[in-house]
Symmetry: C2
Subunit: 425 residues, 2 copies
């Protein structure tokens, strides 16, 4: 499932799995049939999440000494064997195609798995082998087009059902716990603009502009000219139409092209939620684009899902939801900046804001699930529910992070001494 | 000199020297004698800083087409040949021992060199070889003791002449441009405590506590218990005496020992200005100390001089001032956190605050220079002036950075949603 195999996922980075906190031996889950014992062994390897499994024969498997937060019914031997062979992909697939049932809250189930993963033992040899054999989708120019098309071009009407008024498909910023999704998305846009201290008349380049909302916001409220790049055909069509309708087409130009083809000089470079799709191997090249785009007092901001340490994306998510995607650690993000002598001014972690954003999206998604099912099918609804719930769990348990990194050219001394201006009313 | 050979210094990281900004060919400096032509060549390799050199024979060497900010008189052939052989060490040495004269502002001179370095061509083969052959002092347990003793044990009365009331020997935090040194040092301590959200009764471990001021501040104003580690005998003696005198010995324990020997569990781990002395090779080990010191809701802050990319410390500074020291890039700092699944919550760059702190120190140092000369000698005064002025130039030109990195254990959700609390009155 989305989280289950943090253990296996991190196999490429075994050092991470040996933190200083002692790994207490967890009590073994029960299980009397052969299949039950195999499942109990898998669960032990996952750190014994607080879940109960019920097999087709009524057998119950749960870790001793803790209250399960959720129950999973596995109604056939074949389904279980599939899960045992490749739990990271086959468990969420089994949920998607309806061959297992989950009783209880899906987010809590996935949180239990993530939390257990943090105290799981090192991955097995098989787990390491599987992780090694997985090949994420490449991010060549053509590969990126295919990867982005897979996710972002499945229909603007679908996304408009659950992203709220702003159509912003990235982490929002909640100035208060009561803020609505739309308020928080707008606050995020202002937070980023204020961090960059945009001034009227400046030129901004945006890499990966989604449905174009942020570019319009910058133009309307900060008086800047924006060139916004995106390779999603559907998103660019939507954005252009909207800029025309809102009378901002003279200030905002949407370019259907890859960030690698950005040309020209700008005062600021901004990218919100694209880096996840770039691929770590391309970070130095992205930095080259940033460096050549900025003048002497240049600055910019990159906003991305991240991790505490380098690890591939959960493979089911990579396979079914975001082909080619990989959230970087902050250390990996530095490969964008360090080769080009760019200075990091500020990095902020908004992990808990993304959990809240996703809760709001999931609520809207559930409210529209009948419509979604009519647009696609029931399997699609379950797949996306798994993805959204798993993402909430990733952020609440710290398996995923959200970094906003503000940077400037080395010699830019036109930077504020403190960050108080961000919080002034 | 402190800055001159950024070019050479970064030879281990040649990629950095090729940023996207085109390197314009600089106009050659003049120079008609053989020595003059060799000096002109060296200056071209350093990016032609806006300086005029006057040789013993009256010959003047300066880059064409720009106004020199400073004049350097080199009164003998022998001195020049030494500088040509190893400018990074021999230029500042020549200033220290009085064998060259500088007319004009030393900070501006060093800034000119740093700024030129940013547009200098890649280092020569000789420069790369020299950089490769330099061996910084090691930071084994015994090596660190010797390194720290070299700088911090030269006399508390000396330091008290120019560090201000707080005896804090790290970057201050200026809430406003008018803040005095003492106000800014106190504001820095509060800024760090507020970032960590210290609460009465909590236990804090401090790695590298200087003269103990910050530990006392945390105990007095935030009601925490502090264990503070330091291997400088003079500093620990000073700190203990002060804790006794101020009635805080029951709340603050100073331990004369290496950070590697920290034991016990704490709510927070803090280190202000020690990381520069740790050595990048020891970062994962430092992270192990952090991870084993923190409980479930643990958090902490590391404050350190840094760089935009990995590079050794300027070799004269490493040789004469801070043996064994090396300011890390933010990417290098991540080697502390990533192996232990620690989450970065916030990173702030206070580079311009350190420039201002150093200006205040240099002012006090100059005002007390007669006393310093009586304590030591005139060469010592010039050496320390070069060090302080070069550090100002490092921070104003972005050759040096100052990072405060706030972190927490992965599962710590007891973190504020926003940073507004840091700026609330």
């Amino acid at each position: 499932m989305n989280a289950s195999d943090e253990t296996l996922m991190t196999s490429s980075n075994a050092a991470v799995r040996q933190p200083a906190q002692a790994r207490e031996a967890t009590e073994a889950a029960s299980g009397s049939s052969l299949e039950g014992r195999l499942l109990a062994r898998l669960l032990a390897r996952l750190g014994d999440p607080a879940l109960e499994f019920v097999l087709w024969n009524g057998e119950r498997i749960a870790p001793a000494g803790c209250e399960p937060v959720c129950r999973v019914r596995i109604p056939s031997r074949g389904t279980l064997l599939g899960i045992l062979a490749d739990p990271q992909v086959r468990f969420p697939d089994a949920y998607s195609d309806g061959s297992i049932q989950i009783e209880g809250d899906l987010v809590r189930l996935l949180e239990a798995i993530y939390l257990a993963g943090a105290r799981a033992p090192a991955p097995s040899a098989l787990g390491r082998l599987i992780a090694h054999l997985r090949r994420p989708h490449l991010n060549t120019l053509a590969g990126s087009r295919a990867n982005i098309h897979h996710h972002y071009d499945i229909g603007n009407p679908f996304y408009s059902l659950w992203l709220g008024q702003t159509m912003a498909y990235t982490c929002a910023y909640y100035p208060s716990a009561e803020a609505t999704l739309d308020v928080a998305q707008t606050a995020k846009m202002d937070h980023v603009c204020r961090k960059m201290r945009l001034r009227p008349g400046e030129r901004v380049v945006e890499a990966g502009c989604g449905w174009g909302t942020f570019a319009l916001h910058m133009a309307r409220h900060y008086g800047v000219k924006v060139r916004a790049f995106n390779i999603s055909r559907e998103q660019v069509a939507y954005a252009r139409e909207r800029a025309e309708r809102e009378g901002l087409a003279g200030q905002v130009e949407y370019v259907q092209d890859d960030y690698r083809n950005i040309s020209g000089r700008y005062d600021a470079f901004v990218s919100v939620g694209m880096l996840e799709h770039v691929g770590v191997a391309n970070y130095e090249g992205l930095g080259a684009v940033v460096a050549r785009s900025l003048g002497d007092n240049g600055r910019g901001l990159i906003h991305s899902i991240g991790r505490n340490y380098p690890a591939p994306l959960q493979p089911w998510i990579e396979k079914r939801i975001f082909p080619g995607a990989c959230p970087p650690s902050l250390g990996q993000m530095m490969r964008i900046f360090e080769p080009w002598d760019l200075s990091i001014l500020d990095a902020e972690n908004l992990r808990l804001h993304y959990a809240q954003t996703l809760r709001h999206w999931l609520e809207l998604f559930e409210a529209a699930s009948d419509q979604v099912e009519r647009m696609f099918d029931a399997k699609f609804v379950r797949t996306w529910r798994m993805y959204l719930a798993g993402s909430i769990a990733g952020f609440t348990t710290g398996t995923l992070q959200l970094f906003q990194v503000l940077f400037a050219t080395r010699q830019n001394n036109d930077v504020p001494m403190t960050r108080a201006h961000l919080y002034a009313r």
